[in-house]
Symmetry: C2
Subunit: 136 residues, 2 copies
């Protein structure tokens, strides 16, 4: 299940990508336009600012704006920041690997085998999709 955090985050990015001249947009405006709890959105935008997708400007006329071109923002990065691992199980995660404590040998594990295929197919989608692809 995709978390609301990720859902809202992608919607906010899309909204920012659609601005003319990449003008800063206030949190309140994004929240209203996308039907998102403003306070919740605040924390989401903040975490994306920290990872370098966007930046913010304080004071009057301030707000959030993208610091990369939409075509340069890959979904792999977005998902990993907002949702966490792309893999459905830690033992097949490339960036968040963890051993299963109930599994003596993961090379013989049927779940492991299946989840590698699922992870690879998801990765292929996320790698080939940029923010730009989601606008048009």
């Amino acid at each position: 299940m995709l978390s609301k955090k990720t859902k809202y985050g992608i919607k906010a990015l899309t909204f920012l990508a659609g601005q003319v001249d990449n003008e800063p947009v206030q949190i309140a405006e994004i929240a209203k336009h996308e039907n998102i709890s403003q306070k919740f959105l605040e924390s989401i935008l903040l975490s994306m600012r920290r990872t370098g997708f966007l930046s913010s400007k304080k004071g009057k006329g301030g707000g959030y704006y993208l610091i990369k071109r939409p075509s340069e923002i890959q979904m792999t990065e977005v998902i990993r920041v907002l949702e966490g691992p792309i893999a459905m199980i830690p033992c097949v995660s490339l960036n968040f690997y963890e051993k299963c404590d109930d599994c003596p040998d993961e090379n013989k594990c049927s779940v492991h085998k299946l989840m590698i295929s699922v992870r690879d197919s998801a990765l292929q989608v996320y790698r080939n999709t940029t923010l730009d692809d989601l606008i048009s």
Copy 2:
């Protein structure tokens, strides 16, 4: 994230598929061999019995056994029974569709667009994988 329920369920199915002559196996034996809480496994096996993957035999010498050939058990079915929707968001689910209450038009929604691609790629994997593929 894949739930333990699904993980355990697939492991149990794999274990049963590996039995000679498809002899019934007791819950306790599966639980021990796969490091699963016995009571939890009970409920998992029960739900899979109800959907027709396996059957059970009571009394002495009883247990669970497959009623389909491993090559006839598709992962799409297994995942849907144990995990629920394959889609990561209800508005792109084929079998569990639900409208997003925050989204005025899902055809214009960037998340919707992305999640359709992800769903399709996952479906392709699950449709092309049977229990038999996970054994060898």
